[in-house]
Symmetry: C4
Subunit: 205 residues, 4 copies
């Protein structure tokens, strides 16, 4: 097919993904509650007692933001898509869509006796996200796939792959840590997002 | 009109449809509940007892994803739109928008005595979706419509039409099965989505 | 500025509007409730007793769909935007955003003693929508605005203006009718949407 | 990289931002309630007693609309983005996403003894928004950043910077005023939005 059609293909998968990222990141706010509507204490005390909800909101927001930036950077290298790539991207988005739910789970249970289970679900969903992320990239960047921009060198592909491996390893550790401490696992997910935001801003990905 | 304007037309109906697909797929998550907020059992038991909600979430997510991929592939062949096509596409989106609601119905009733009614509504809405899908494609692909890319051959149009017929037949069967068993009808909708995801990824549509 | 930049301007106001249209149309579904979650009767009886919600859902969906199609057609004629046009479009979107709320009002009150008030609010908000619509079009299409495509003839502008006047008149009547009967006013809004969908599909706007 | 790729980059960050703006502006409507569903008085009385919710809805809608128009105008000058700019834009969007929540806080508490705290949070979040806005613009417009359109003159950059400074100063005053009166601070935020809408429409930014 002509070049014009290929450009159009990529732009639509990006638009759909952007919609899901933007919507999931905005839905997070629905889980923050006005203390006044729950009765009881003063506004400030009510908000302070909700700190797990705010921390979970910040953590998930940062995580989706890092993901969106990386998705953006990844698709800069992709010039063509096929149906398999659309489904791999769709499975990735499945876990993005799930994030507002797992965020509400961690916010509501991090101080309870179910903290470990909640943290395992929260970090486990992100681990699965990074696994599908890895599959998506491997599929698009495999030699002779014809899906990458011809200007992208194999060395550069390897460098990007190893960066994704770091994310995979980090989320695996956060998932494993949930076995010992819910709070530590949760804190690690926040640190991962901050780490990626800082390194991505400094380094030229 | 000039070619530039026609390209713009198609891109906006795609953007609007992408928005509706992306929001509908993300709204599904609002029907998953934190067991802690409902009181009672432990987190893990609470989640396991919600399995119909998760299964319905996965089924509807996969169904919308398959639809989006097919919508994407269909509009690759369409180079021009008119008002009638915009409305046919709009009626199709009506049932996409309805899906989060019918998903909550099937999730909430699949284990109750209303399982058959819920499954009939769930699969019936998808049957109507595939009927409008069929009308949309027939309208766009009818001979001398002037809406398709000139490079698309009649043979190829027929091949695509027969693929859409399969979807129509499958959803009709799922709808009919609801008369006998709600669970069987629900399971069939899940199988249809998996079937289309697998065949679409293997075959070159 | 160069032509490339102007094209970009129009495409972004369309993308933002499409987002709001698509989101508002999808939010409508959140007001449909699973009867099982409200206790009481069987699923089917529960759904049937909710008929005002479904009718309001269909009416508002059709109304937004007609608006989106017309917005699409209007912006085909606009080649350039300025800040005033962005705000006029924003005020128009204000009432689109409000529609899920007025829809829930009409659905919840059409059978109560507040039916007339609810219908006046519902049709009144749509009347205001069509007033801002009219202002937006008059602003863009005024002579020597430089915002329209140069290929658009004055005769054609007048024809479009008179079509928008019909919508304005219809919604004014629906608003006035609410003084006598809520149901009649509500039914009229549904008829207006159907009327515009049918005429738009037949006539070449 | 080629010019084509750079255009694509800007268009995607705009699409993602548009998505977040459009969803946040539409989510505001979810906090308006049907008085019938809350029991008690007549529809009209119930709506009138909810006036803080409507005023907060209008204020936040106008604020997001002004922001979107300015975001649109700012990105007209930006021809290229990098990862740091994507994150600065992301932090800005964090506060846009938070706005439906702070809007519900101000609506629910403006008449209670917590009015000052609610107004401080509401205006404080907007102050932070304008601080990140300022950082984003300074980063993009710093000399030799290579991110601006080459046609943008330094004088023009300075003029825009000083306009953003006005917003910063206004929100700082609204935040400071909250220490004395919640209502006055809230009213000032509404006035700021109206002021920017009027001046932006008159002046050519």
């Amino acid at each position: 097919m002509a070049n014009g059609l290929e450009v159009k293909e990529t732009s639509r998968i990006e638009a759909f993904s952007d919609g899901v990222f933007a919507f999931a990141i905005t839905l997070l706010v629905l889980y923050l509650k006005d203390p006044a509507s729950m009765g009881g204490t003063s506004l400030l005390q009510g908000l302070i007692s909700q700190w797990p909800s705010f921390l979970a909101f910040v953590t998930s927001f940062m995580t989706i933001l890092v993901m969106w930036v990386n998705h953006h950077n990844m698709f800069k290298y992709i010039k063509k898509i096929d149906t398999k790539l659309m489904f791999l991207n769709g499975f990735l988005l499945f876990f993005v869509v799930l994030l507002p739910f797992t965020t509400s789970l961690i916010a509501g249970n991090i101080l309870s006796s179910s903290a470990k289970v909640a943290a395992a679900i929260y970090s486990g969903a992100l681990l699965l996200t990074s696994i599908f992320w890895y599959c998506l990239w491997r599929y698009a960047s495999r030699e002779n796939s014809g899906l990458l921009q011809p200007s992208v060198k194999r060395d550069h592909v390897k460098k990007i792959t190893s960066q994704y491996n770091i994310g995979l390893a980090f989320y695996f550790i956060a998932f494993a840590v949930a076995y010992f401490s819910g709070l530590a696992s949760f804190g690690m997910v926040l640190l991962i997002a901050v780490f990626f935001a800082v390194t991505a801003s400094i380094a030229r990905v």
